[in-house]
């Protein structure tokens, strides 16, 4: 037994050394081979913005899989390993991706260039009927993470992303800047379309399943009433649901906006209760496979949302 | 033998897994019999009773109850069964004596429908036979072992069975209660003409009480109801050893 112990230690040390050199060697080899920077975007809006700017000169991947609700998604171990090999990691921040903080901390400065797209943007505190006491999934409690739903703030996010891409891949600076300008144009068009359309409407209340539309409401002077909180996981209690029922009856609101990725059970209960119609307003946190196949993207879904708002609030 | 043959067992085998528990059992039980089945632990006495009651299925041979093959037999109310007290129920069970006794009215065709006034009268009737009529509303778990055993006898009697099986009925019961108990059985057998088959390892008492003895050892029938006393005596000696000598001679 005694004789074996040193040899085991020796073996372990050897394995560690070879293991280390192996992985670093691999990493550099992959980096050399790659012609395009490997960019990971946490959720769909980040993916969409990066795609608009990076075009076909980046190898772009989305972390939260298509069709998953982004608030309650957790990364698999395999993905974390893959992320370490990336050049750029873009995330929204403000607690939208609770897993991202742990991930970034575990990178220890190695690995990709990390971009928090919401950095430098004026954030909104979340104040809403009843549902602010539980904020399970969100790290920075109290701030609304759904920054991208205001086109002007989305522009800032896109700008942050552009800078990161330039930093990671300076050779394509002109290309990224040109794309950014083109995308900015689209966002500004969208913004003026929203301002114009919504200013014509009398009704201002939007009843939504989860409080994702704070920035949209802020930008265009709407009033958001949500069934659950910032995170669709926060369920209202029966008493809160009763208060919402009273509010909707009082304000004579005949519609409730659903979203595509969360379970609408509670909103359905509420709609049944007050006899309201249901409509779809997409917070674009993630798109379904079908929506992507139809060629929908951030801009077109925002336009769809506007059409829905116009139809419902204009009645 | 002119009495009616109630139970007829021929060439009965029973196998449990690979073990042959009973081999080639042949036994007839007639109306009015008072039979004690004795034998050491593991000799197959209880297994034999369970086969007769249809709880276990035989591996070979044939059992006839009241002239019918056991597979076609349906008149289970003609057979009463009293089990060893200790294992038969959960002592915390919240049931009254009346509920326990009345439960057995389930299948009786000739007996009153459960829940009726007649049924309640019948329950009181059998309770008074076993001198338990004052305990009808008491919880079964609050009675002494001897009292519980009398309740179970009352339960077995409620459908007026023609034959009563008792499996180690005196285990866990004090000596006085045991004496009362044997007196009751004698009344059943002599006055009510109920055929009684009792399994017991308590040879000393049983050989004094019962009319006939069936002795079992190692899954075989060693002597029959018709064996002479000396045959039985020597058989018992063979099975249990010499200590048995005293008990038999005592008689």
């Amino acid at each position: 037994m005694k004789g074996r112990i040193p040899s085991i230690i020796l073996l372990t040390v050897l394995l560690m050394i070879t293991g280390c050199t192996n992985s670093t060697g691999q990493q550099s080899r992959i980096a050399e081979k790659r012609s395009k920077p490997l960019v990971y975007a946490s959720i769909y809006p980040m993916y969409d913005f990066a795609k608009n700017i990076g075009g076909d000169r980046i190898d772009l991947r989305m972390v939260v899989p298509v069709g998953a609700e982004p608030h309650d998604w957790e990364p698999t171990a395999k993905l974390i390993v893959a992320l370490e090999e990336a050049d750029v990691f873009i995330y929204n921040g403000v607690g939208m991706e609770p897993w991202a903080d742990n991930l970034i901390a575990s990178l220890n400065g190695n690995g990709p260039l990390v971009v928090e797209a919401s950095k430098g943007i004026q954030l909104l505190k979340h104040g809403n009927i009843g549902n602010s006491q539980h904020n399970h999934g969100h790290v920075s409690v109290g701030y609304d993470p759904h920054v991208w739903l205001d086109p002007t703030r989305a522009e800032k996010q896109a700008e942050n992303i552009m800078h990161a891409l330039i930093k990671a891949d300076g050779g394509n600076e002109a290309f990224y800047k040109l794309n950014f300008q083109e995308f900015t144009g689209k966002l500004r068009n969208l913004d003026s379309l929203y301002s114009e359309t919504l200013s014509r409407l009398d009704k201002r209340e939007i009843v939504v399943t989860h409080a994702a539309f704070g920035y949209l409401a802020d930008r265009y002077g709407l009033e958001q009433i949500s069934v659950s909180g910032l995170n669709p996981q926060e369920e209202p209690s029966a008493a809160q649901l009763a208060a919402l029922t009273d509010l909707l009856r009082e304000k004579r609101i005949g519609y409730i906006f659903f979203e595509t990725l969360t379970n609408p059970k509670l909103a359905t209960v509420l709609a049944d209760e007050v006899g309201a119609k249901t409509e779809v307003l997409n917070p674009i946190g993630g798109l379904t496979r079908q929506q992507l196949d139809e060629g929908l993207d951030y801009i077109s879904v925002m336009q769809q949302n506007l059409e829905t708002l116009e139809r419902v609030l204009g009645q | 033998m002119n009495a009616e043959r109630l139970i007829s067992i021929s060439n009965l085998d029973f196998q449990y897994g690979k073990d042959l528990v009973l081999t080639n059992i042949n036994l007839d039980i007639h109306e009015g019999d008072y039979i004690g089945i004795v034998g050491p632990n593991g000799s197959g006495k209880s297994t034999l009773v369970k086969l007769i009651l249809g709880i276990l299925k035989p591996s070979g041979g044939c059992i006839e109850l009241f002239g019918k093959d056991i597979k076609d037999f349906n008149d289970w109310e003609r057979i009463g069964y009293v089990r060893q007290k200790a294992t038969s129920f959960n002592p915390g069970f919240p049931a009254t004596v009346e509920e326990v006794v009345g439960a057995n009215l389930y299948s009786g065709r000739s007996t009153p429908k459960p829940g009726t006034k007649k049924a309640r009268e019948r329950v009181n009737e059998v309770l008074s036979i076993v001198n338990m009529e004052k305990f009808g509303k008491r919880l079964i778990g609050n009675l002494s072992g001897g009292q519980q055993q009398r309740v179970f006898i009352a339960r077995a009697l409620i459908n007026s069975p023609q034959i009563l099986f008792l499996d180690e009925p005196t285990v866990g019961i004090d000596a006085d209660s045991q004496r009362d108990f044997y007196q009751l059985l004698e009344i059943f057998n002599q006055e009510m003409r109920i055929t009684i088959v009792m399994v017991s390892h308590d040879i000393g008492v049983i050989t004094q009480k019962v009319g006939r003895i069936v002795c079992m050892g190692d899954g075989k029938l060693l002597c029959h109801p018709n064996s002479s006393r000396s045959e039985i005596s020597s058989m018992l000696k063979k099975v249990y050893g010499n200590t048995m000598d005293l008990l038999i001679h005592d008689h």
Binding site: D72, P236, S237, A238, A239, L261, V269 | Y81, N104, S107
Partner: protein, 269 residues
């Protein structure tokens, strides 16, 4: 005080609560006295995996839960007969398998957590009209079956071997009863939650047995104890904004403690 009754979802919650307040102890008393309390726990975990399967496949989760738990109940009954020595083990295996399937399905479909939480801990606000119909119809069926087979169930519970000798079709009654356990669990899950269903089958029964002077009384008192806990639990969970399942179960535990306390006080006087 009762202004919550103006809301349809609260009316449904209360009605469902009243029905499961009858079902759970009525099934539970036979389980407790047969020392089979464990089966409720196993089946509720399987029902949970059914809910998860329903959510993943888009089939009505309660129907899926019903199918899963009934299948598991039949499986347990089969195992219980074949390997009676390992009955406890069989239930533990089925519990683990149920929970395992549930967890795997949940991790497979990322976005079903919201509703699943309700199935785990009970949620009074999500009793839909369809759920209510299911609870009412199947609930009446269960109550009718137990009512009609009360004597048989009592006999089997008191003395299974004796029941068989008395000519009761023990196998058939046991099989049907096991299916009823699965149904009761599935129906109660909306209000009490999968984790606590078996508690509502056991604790009110324990209270009832403490006070009862007969089996009939034990059944009635168990139902009373469960109703008190269910109705006051639902009302409390509305006003105090608590999870309904936990509130109901804690109230039924409090009731049991109260009964035990008063009983021991009276004994000491």
């Amino acid at each position: 005080m009762m202004e919550f009754l103006q809301y349809g979802f609260m009316q449904r919650a209360l009605m469902a609560g009243v029905i499961i307040g009858i079902l759970c102890p009525m099934i539970g008393i036979f389980l407790v006295l047969r020392r089979m309390s464990m089966i409720g726990n196993s089946l509720s975990h399987v029902a949970l995996s059914g809910v998860a399967a329903g959510m993943v496949s888009g089939i009505y989760p309660l129907a899926m839960a019903l199918a899963f738990s009934v299948a598991a109940a039949l499986g347990i009954e089969l195992l219980r007969k074949k390997y009676s020595e390992y009955a406890e083990l069989a239930m533990a295996v089925i519990l683990s398998a149920g929970l395992g399937i549930a967890v795997v399905l949940i991790s497979y479909a990322k976005s079903i957590n919201v509703d699943l939480f309700g199935y785990l801990f009970g949620n009074i606000v999500t009793v839909r009209s369809g759920d209510m119909m299911l609870i009412a119809v199947l609930g009446s069926l269960i109550i009718a079956f137990v009512g009609l087979n009360y004597r048989e169930l009592f006999y089997i519970t008191f003395d299974e071997e004796g029941a068989r000798i008395a000519g009761i079709p023990v196998k058939r009654v046991n099989l049907l009863f096991t299916v009823l356990i699965a149904m009761t669990i599935t129906l109660s899950m909306r209000i009490v939650g999968a984790l606590l269903v078996s508690s509502l089958m056991v604790i009110p029964v324990a209270t009832g047995i403490q006070l009862a002077k007969s089996f009939k009384q034990a059944t009635l008192l168990s139902v009373v104890a469960a109703e008190v806990a269910a109705v006051s639990g639902i009302i409390a969970s509305y006003y105090l904004e608590l999870a309904s399942g936990g509130t109901i179960v804690l109230l039924s535990v409090a009731l049991l403690m109260l009964v035990l306390g008063v009983k021991s006080l009276l004994r000491n006087i």
